[in-house]
Amino acid sequence: MKKFNLPKLLIFVIAFYAAIQILYSTEIMNGYILHIINQSLIYVILAVSLNLINGITGQFSLGHMGFAGVGAYVSGTISTLVFKINPSSPNGMLIFILAIVAGGLAAAVVGFLIGFPSLRLKGDYLAIVTLGFGEIIRTVFNNIDYVGGPRGLLGIPKFSNFTTITIAALITIVVIRNLVESSHGRAMLAVRENELAAELVGVNTTRYKVLAFVIGAFFAGIAGGLFAHLLQMAHPTQFGFIKSVEVLIMIYAGGVGSITGSTIAAFALTFLSEGLRIGIRAIADATGLPIGGEWRMVVYSLLLIFIMLFKTEGLMGTKESKLIRLKEVE
């Protein structure tokens, strides 16, 4: 019998949360750093949920941000266009939470639809279909004037903050970790390792593949909703193929199948991309070289190549941190 190591993880998260809040309120840490942390946490949700589909179940999805887009638009529509709430309205927080969950559910429904092709298609063929779905979703947003079309859905109230995003990230990690360690998770791993063999030993591979898509899409939808309520807008271009690739990079840089890895990579790559802004400016100031922001992504892509060449299994491999590992109990 295994039991999830919740208290330790909870203590860690509470300590992390308190430390950030203290640093921020004493102005040792500014709003910029807090914003990067918020973004990192949203990427944690995206990366961990994509890891369930790609890393754990072994399906190759290239359209993850499409799910996030559904979450962003559905939750944004509910909060902004239907209820027209703002942070000071009564029941605002409640409606916000319901809107976010509704966004997640809508994304899950889309995930269910996209999960079906995975029954017939494998590997790169599935990748193309998920990519196509992502682009279709983008085309749809672009053409609905009610949600702004190419102008984007604007004026979304700013409900996402460090507290709500941390809670959502924690829930995502706990749920997906528990799932992976359950018999369902074992079945998903079996699908990844060898689908035919899994089928032969009685695993309902169809069901687990679709389940992975549904749950992965649900959390991606939550992340999309949080993102929309952080940026106060949603725009079709935010949910295209290139953005999906960014999340994909996180799970492989962190280590396929490792939730810890996805979490660390989400933080590391978000901070890296921001840190390079400051780093490159410092080099330019110190050396007088005429270099600017255009070199930031050059360095970023080189670092990415080096990570993959010298740490091929990703930062964590398939290992998990003690904080989210399950412990054996009598």
């Binding site: 298609l121 063929y125 035919l196 992504m297 190549i305 993959m308 060449l309 091929t312």
Partner: protein, 303 residues
């Protein structure tokens, strides 16, 4: 409906398709041998266009009045640029990961693609701005009665056809081709047979990259505007075309590319606001009916 399905739209679709075909040929060939989605392939295409651009302006003065020769030199330059960079990329970024999980090579490929785009864009001599591509050959419009076709479209289609036939012959008739097929089917067995796998793979990248370079030149001539990010969309579309045709299958890539070109054209003509969405929907339906692409072979799953 007359404006949607007519001779002109078919010509339009064939033109779009032939550029996709040229990129897809290299894509599918590399995939067939190393089973790697080489995301940087679209960037080899971009490099081919830039190499042609640079060589044209550097040496144009020497070739006054010799348009044909200049065009040939530029073609060689673009193929050399695409091929050599592909070779280099294979050596530095893909070879060390050959026996590691396939997806780590995929992420590396994405990294290489990003690097090539951002690096050229940041490099002052290239820069991120659009450049107008010179008319290396004179541009002639041929009136077919109810459709207009430019000589470039004919050149694109002819070159795509020639390369496809050449590549098929190479693979079917030569020793190297036999080695390629052997590597694509079973690397370990091929090595036991005394085939130098790395040499075969390097050669594949060289050919695939040079095809992409040639495609870059033709695209630059047909759509006279180049930019470091020009490879992203066509690369993606060519990849999709290769998958549609059955990835690894040479005629399949060409077929897939023309279907993509025609589907996009008709979908855009039918409703341009959702044209891309329709094209992707068609793709999904086709793949659901033929999960291994149109000409892909059905393999039995192995345990």
């Amino acid at each position: 409906m007359g404006a949607i399905f007519n001779a002109q739209q078919i010509v339009n679709g064939l033109q779009v398709g032939s550029i996709y075909a040229l990129i897809a040929l290299g894509y599918t060939m590399v995939y067939g041998i190393v089973r790697l989605i080489n995301f940087a392939h679209g960037d080899f295409y971009m490099l081919g266009a830039y190499a042609a651009y640079g060589v044209f302006f550097a040496f144009n003065a020497l070739f006054v009045g010799k348009t044909g020769l200049m065009a040939f030199v530029v073609l060689i330059a673009s193929m050399a640029a695409g091929g050599l960079i592909a070779l280099l990329t294979n050596r530095l970024a893909y070879k060390p990961l050959r026996y590691k999980p396939k997806l780590s090579s995929l992420i590396t490929a994405i990294g290489v693609s990003m690097f090539l785009e951002y690096f050229l864009s940041a490099l002052p001599v290239v820069g991120p701005s659009y450049r107008s591509f010179p008319d290396i050959l004179p541009r002639v419009n041929i009136n077919l009665g109810n459709a207009v076709i430019s000589n470039y479209v004919i050149i694109d289609i002819v070159i795509a056809a020639v390369l496809m036939v050449g590549l098929t012959l190479l693979i079917k008739k030569t020793t190297l081709g036999m080695a390629m097929r052997a590597v694509s089917q079973d690397k370990d067995a091929a090595r036991l047979m005394g085939i130098d796998i790395e040499k075969v793979i390097a050669f594949t990248f060289l050919i695939g990259g040079s095809f992409a370079g040639a495609a870059g030149l033709l695209a630059g001539m047909t759509y006279p505007r180049i930019v470091p990010y020009m490879g992203i969309q066509p690369g993606l579309k060519a990849f999709i075309a290769a998958v549609l045709g059955g990835i690894g299958n040479i005629p399949g890539a060409v077929l897939g590319a023309y279907i993509m070109g025609l589907a996009e054209t008709f979908a855009s003509a039918y409703n341009s606001l959702i044209g891309e969405g329709i094209a992707f929907a068609i793709l999904i339906v086709v793949l659901l009916v033929r999960p291994r692409g149109l000409l892909g072979e059905k393999f039995a799953d192995k345990i």
